[in-house]
Symmetry: C2
Subunit: 414 residues, 2 copies
């Protein structure tokens, strides 16, 4: 059975939420986790779930669930959701589109008087973005057991405010344990792609088969700080020259490994940082991602080779310190198939792809089978008010989500 | 006529001054311009000049002069000196060695009862280092007319303190106009090399024939900040990759131009500076020096070529902004010859070289004929407590200075 969601209502809801924590004069959001704007959008979303007849609960890290019973009380639950928090200067789709598409699904079930076999739950995960409190994907991480609740509670923002205190302040420290309290059958998440692949190909929706793994590290070169006027070139041990060599390597390595491999240096600091002094110490980050964990490991090996060669050329000491490493995720075939079938049946041009960014689904996939639907990101822009997905693309992705979810939840016999 | 200075007194004086603003547990100085330590060393130096019978005056930017009359009241003055201020974590030789060698010369004249033909003056220039108030060589710059007194007065330190107020506070805002009030015949300055050439060659003293010219600029690349996980490599416009290409070029360019050419990137800033975001904007400095101004101009042209090529490869916008440009200085033959003859006559192995760093002599050379004597810097280290010149090398340089100065000042007939 296939269902048709209400396009008008979906668009209205997207516009409504975009006014909560909106940025003056821009189509963007400043709705950082546990802010006043986050409280406001949570209240608004809770009311929408209550209006839709859902049984709402809040867990100890502020994840908000809304449950709709199924015909079979013993059947595993189908969970649907994403996040309502934003980057400090983010777009209006990153997160909310997935939450509101899930809401649209259960509202459509209500409208159509459909009872599913399995219970269906909506969820708004706390602090997916990680811009105020680290790490990102905090709510889903604690819920799935990848992060301790204590570590989440003790995380502090730049002003020294603890996560747990900020959570308490906005009234979303719930009393339900932050863990899967039910048996979960599957999880589906709709999210904007945040990359250009769908837009490049002219596709309508993305069928996400997994999430890339990555490793982040930091390389430090130590040379010799020296006067830039009096030190001949052959006497120098310039740490920044070594770093430049490696950054060039980071640009080159992905092209030697795979079509989905990416490598980035995002942060660099040179000491002492004077126009007139040869840099004696430079630290910079290197990060590689690929759907295949062995390719990530190979990229890290190669960048270490580049660092060793640069150190040898320039007479430097060097070290590599791993900062974070996350294995790739392969989504369950049955969930991916449900998304693919829904896209095909509804007539959308689709593309199977691996997510280059982490999502709450990365965490939930360790608890139950999972998959994702990607909506088109125009020009791949995200984490910026320039982020854009037109209403047709929002609708196509939400429609695909709803029909895949219905497939997984099953329709009860009348 | 040749004279012999007092090695014991020179060493004692060097050690005395090293205790004023000394760094605990290190053989270094923290005697930043117009600090309490600077006041103390100025008072101490003024007393030493007074004891030596000199007529002391302080000008409006705090340059302190001590004048010893010559036999010919109409003859131009021979000026000798350097600076007593230091870097915040500097060595004990950079500056003071030149001032105290000059003092040692006039004390030896007193000891020997020598009357020179020309008047002789000592000078301690204000704020040579430029670490607290920019630009460097401030006192000599105002005196020589390269910098306006108003600009010097209005320069502020990191705490917002104005130069003129700091000068007033330590009691060294004098009332003599900061300009050459006498006719100056010549200027000699002894300074440590701050580079490795004398040490490498095993020479005793350096005969400095000029000062390199330089140009400092800033290059900015603008690309596109983007998610490091979702943006394929071929969609990136990575400003830091462009910068890395140019930094490699800065390392390479000097070797294609001249044996004395040097090029340095000392400062780099990458925005937004997140481990997870492709850098959208990077700004970094480039600086080139060479004894030949045309070579500096050629180096700047070539680095612009590297920037244009990098921008083309990576799809970036770029711009070059000149920050400072100083022409090279050729010292007057007769002053250089005086230094060379003194070194030869006293039996020192010498090397003729061009200073890679700017000195007060760079400024004074626009007022009168000038030259410099370089003392050996062990391993070329400077601007650090590791700066080291052994007493033999201090003596050799001071002895050379004294005999060159006597040559220029002339001995009056009895």
């Amino acid at each position: 059975m296939r269902i048709a969601i209400d396009r008008r209502r979906l668009v209205d809801r997207l516009q409504e939420q975009a006014n909560i924590g909106g940025i003056d004069g821009e189509r963007g959001l400043d709705r950082v986790t546990l802010s006043e704007a986050d409280r406001e959008v949570r209240d608004w979303f809770r009311d929408r779930m209550t209006d839709a007849g859902l049984d709402v609960r809040v867990d100890e890290v502020g994840n908000v669930f809304g449950r709709r019973p199924g015909a079979d009380p013993d059947a595993g639950t189908v969970l649907l959701g994403s996040h309502l928090d934003s980057q400090p200067h983010g777009g209006i789709y990153d997160g909310p589109l997935g939450v509101l598409a899930a809401l649209e699904f259960v509202e459509t079930l209500e409208d159509e008087g459909i009872t599913t076999e399995r219970p269906v739950e909506l969820v708004n995960w706390t602090n997916e973005e990680g811009s105020r409190f680290q790490p990102a994907m905090m709510g889903s991480g604690v819920w799935a057991g990848a992060l301790s609740q204590e570590a989440a509670y003790e995380a502090t923002d730049r002003d020294g405010v603890r996560f747990v205190d900020a959570l308490e302040r906005i009234g979303y420290r719930g009393d339900v344990p932050a863990e899967p309290g039910y048996d979960y059958d599957s999880y589906l998440e709709l999210h904007i792609e945040q990359g250009p692949r769908l837009d490049d190909a002219g596709d309508d929706v993305g069928v996400v088969t997994g999430v890339v793994g990555f490793q982040w590290g930091e390389i430090t070169f130590e040379g010799q700080a020296n006067h830039s006027g009096t030190t001949p070139m052959h006497h120098r041990r310039d740490a920044l020259v070594g770093a430049a060599d490696v950054i060039t390597g980071v640009r080159r390595i992905p092209g030697t490994l795979g079509e989905r491999t990416v490598g980035t240096t995002g942060v660099i600091e040179a000491d002492p940082g004077s126009i007139n002094i040869v840099p004696g110490e430079v630290t910079f980050t290197v990060g590689f991602r690929d759907p295949d964990d062995e390719t990530v490991a190979e990229a890290v090996d190669r960048v270490k080779g580049e660092a060793a060669a640069a150190a040898e050329r320039e007479g430097l000491e060097w070290r590599y310190e791993e900062r974070m490493s996350v294995e790739s995720v392969d989504f369950a075939d049955r969930c991916v198939d449900a998304v693919q079938s829904a896209a095909d049946d509804r007539g959308y041009a689709s593309q199977r792809l691996v997510s280059g960014a982490g999502h709450d689904a990365t965490r939930v996939a360790s608890v139950c089978d999972a998959a994702m639907v990607f909506a088109v990101s125009e020009d791949g822009k995200s984490h910026s008010p320039q982020e854009f997905t037109d209403w047709d693309d929002c609708y196509a992705a939400a429609d695909t989500l709803a029909n895949a979810a219905l497939d997984l939840a099953g329709v009860a016999d009348e």
